[in-house]
Amino acid sequence: MATLDSRIPSGPLADKWRKHKTEIKLVNPANKRKYEIIVVGAGLAGASAASTLADLGYKVKNFVFHDSPRRAHSIAAQGGINAAKNYQNDGDSVYRLFYDPLKGGDYRAREANVHRLAEVSVNIIDQCAALGVPFAREYGGLLANRSFGGAQVSRTFYARGQTGQQLLLGAYSSLSRTVGAGLVELHSHSEMLDLVVVNGHAKGIIVRNLVTGEITRHSADAVILATGGYGNVYNLSTYARGSNCTAIMRAYRRGACLANPCYTQIHPTCIPVSGDYQSKLTLMSESLRNDGRIWAPKNPADRLKAPNEIAEQDRDYFLERLYPSFGNLCPRDVASRAAKRACDDGRGVGESGLGVYLDFADAIKRLGENGVRERYGNLFDIYHEITAESAYKTPMRIYPAVHYTMGGLWVDYNLMSNVPGLFVLGEANFSDHGANRLGASALMQGLADGYFVIPYTIGDYLAGQKPGSRPSADGAEFKAAEDSVRGQTSRFLSTKGKEPVSHFHKRLGKIMWEYCGMARTKESLETALQKIPALREEFRANVNVPGSAETLNQSLEQAGRVADFIDLGELLCRDALTREESCGGHFREEHQHPDGECKRDDEKFAHVAAWEFQGEGKTPLRNVEPLNYEFVKMSVRNYK
């Protein structure tokens, strides 16, 4: 049984972080250079952590599987980043930026963590502006804001539709500066394949160079994972193709608890799947719902008709009908489920039957085509590029898609996992978004963790480790971990089955989407828990990984990742089965209010479920960290 001590500081909410910073241990400047820290990943969290720790004087090694740290998938985030600057003088405050995500997360996040996030949000904007991030500006030269995701204040900072790109390139520029100055040792094209635990502490990793195939051992005084989310367990998602859960799953197998894996976010407005070859789903910004109207035909017989041949009275504007006060602007999870129900009724449009219309005809009547172009032109262009259809002439077809994962490795207030010395940042941890993430807060969390939290909290751990006490990479634990990695590689290459890795990834994705997607039931999850182990057996027996381990071998890389997705998928379904309530992105059909809204069970489930590996083929252990709400009352989210 793992010990889950959240180490939340005592005292008033607003004082916790300040107090904690003054109480935790420090490392003397002359000693910092004696400590080596491994950072895996170079997205917003990883790049900001690596450069900031290097500036503090620690020796940092940064590992990325990409060819360059600038490719990390933070780069694809569109909308913006929230901060409680109150530059608009519209009543925003740290408290409001704390309260909104806490409620949006359906009261399943830690109060203290979310409050800290809101507090440091203001520093993030300062830091990014200083790095030259070209945020949108007003004519007076000051920073511009927009509103986002139902918030009642304007607190989102943005750089056109490419905010993630600009924030990431800012963090990458700092990382590049520290690499150039010799403060960070950068290992690109290097994938972490195991975590090394010595005497119960994380002290190193095993890495495969993806170009040469060389497997190397790296020891350190502490290991930081900033390796992103696991949404590709569904195969089709808005994630990059390379996004994977290998680092967190290998850490899980070495004892780190994986918390709340069933909390997955499904975004309502993505371009639907067009065929079995599909590799990727593309997001259409939520902002389109400001002017677009979502509908499906009333009659299943109409679903393949051209939309303009379906008369007004034969259309069902289902969000306007079901949620008259919020209409098309109801929250992401509610909109996604409503679209799914329409398609389940056989009313889905397009060849696959998995799509609904997002119609701009009324907006064009009201604003003119140029008015609509001014607001959404770039999105209409993207839609046209992918589908060859003009959304000015015919409604867009959209369908929900996996977009983000709120679950991840369990961490305490210091962002340290239950394995001492192992820290987890950004989307890879579970800590800040509860059961549902609000828009424009993912970027905020990644940078908060890297620039402003880990630089303080890692010292508290390192101060307790004697300088120079880091174990040698020649030790038995390193050898055992390396042997395990080599064993897996040779098993993949020698299986010589019939099917490519992608075949199994697609099948896993279909199981996950069908039985553990937007709506889940006891039966569906039990079905998934039978199908996934069977798929694992088939994968082991029948996968074909051509080529050798000594060169670039993308099939081999994917095989390792898909093996981990299979294990994570099973754990996700198990978590979903045991969480007998609906909250945020986790919707159990058995637990809903008569109007179809999520029905939480705070009596039984106001806690974090942190799963602990018990060995191959054994049922993992479900540890529980109670969520104590000291300052906010848990209430029912109501969007009617």
Binding site: H73, A130, Q165, S279
Partner: protein
């Protein structure tokens, strides 16, 4: 996805550059790719070809890709002689099969440049770009040292122009499109982005000298004003930034030659 196109399918002959490793000889190999949906992306077509090769026990074609939405800059194929293929302002991952006709012969190569050595098949090593960035593509601002973000207003036209330059995705199409394999557009985009902002002034001269120095050392060629780079750029970054960089470089070189340098040591109690 498009009803009227759904029934149509097309077939092409692929001529793909296959090269087992960095120092190995490469050659074109032909593959037939049939029954393609016009709404498939070019990379999805390669996925299908690769699955077929794997089922036959052959090694699939190695190609670089990741986000598949034109922002990460990983994908890097030259298609029918054009970096990122036939479209304007798109990356390889945003090319769709409807851009080709049934029966077409489609030639696929890696981005070619001496400074981008081939790793395998269609994958090249672009780490030279990282080294250029490490030399000076940054503003030094340690976390915790920043003033309030609104303490330094930036005129909107400057911010907008900086953003135009900052949209560079670091793919290297500019290099592949240039007959001199010049990286001037890539370097100029970063020099322009940071040099246009007030925050970037303190390091402006040092930055341009350092970045251009490493660019030359890495073996990239010079600009001879053909502007193929801008035409191939998936973000359509303007070659005007090259002119701006040349001005900065000239001014910085002159100043470096004549500017007085402080002799002061580092004192302190």
């Amino acid at each position: 996805m498009v009803a009227e196109n759904q029934s149509k399918s097309l077939g092409i002959t692929l001529r793909v550059w296959r090269q087992a490793g960095p120092s190995q000889p490469g050659r074109f190999v032909e593959y037939q790719s049939k029954d393609l949906n016009p709404n498939m992306s070019f990379l999805e077509m390669l996925d299908v070809v690769n699955d077929e090769l794997t089922r036959k026990g052959e090694e699939p074609i190695a190609f670089a890709h990741d986000c598949r939405e034109g922002i990460c800059g990983t994908c890097s194929c030259t298609i029918n002689g054009k970096p990122h293929g036939p479209g304007k302002g798109v990356a390889t991952c945003q090319v769709y099969m409807r851009s080709f006709r049934d029966g077409d012969v489609v030639t696929v190569e890696p981005f070619r440049a001496a400074a981008f050595p081939v790793i395998k098949d269609l994958v090249v090593d672009r780490s030279a770009f990282d080294r250029i960035q490490q030399a000076g593509g940054f503003i030094t601002a340690r976390a915790g040292s920043a003033p309030d973000a609104n303490a330094l207003p930036v005129p909107k036209p400057d911010a907008d122009l900086a953003m135009d330059a900052a949209t560079c995705i670091g793919c290297g199409a500019c290099v592949a499109a240039c007959k001199n394999a010049s990286a001037m557009l890539f370097v100029a985009a970063k020099v322009g982005h940071l040099g246009l902002l007030p925050q970037g002034q303190a390091e402006r001269e040092r930055r341009v000298l350092a970045m251009v120095g490493v660019m030359d050392a890495e073996g990239f060629g010079n600009c001879t004003n053909q502007y193929e780079c801008s035409a191939a750029c998936p973000k359509l970054i303007s070659h005007d930034f090259i002119a701006r960089m040349n001005r900065d470089y000239f001014a910085a070189s002159l100043k470096a030659a004549v500017k007085p340098v402080s002799l002061g040591g580092s004192g302190g109690a």
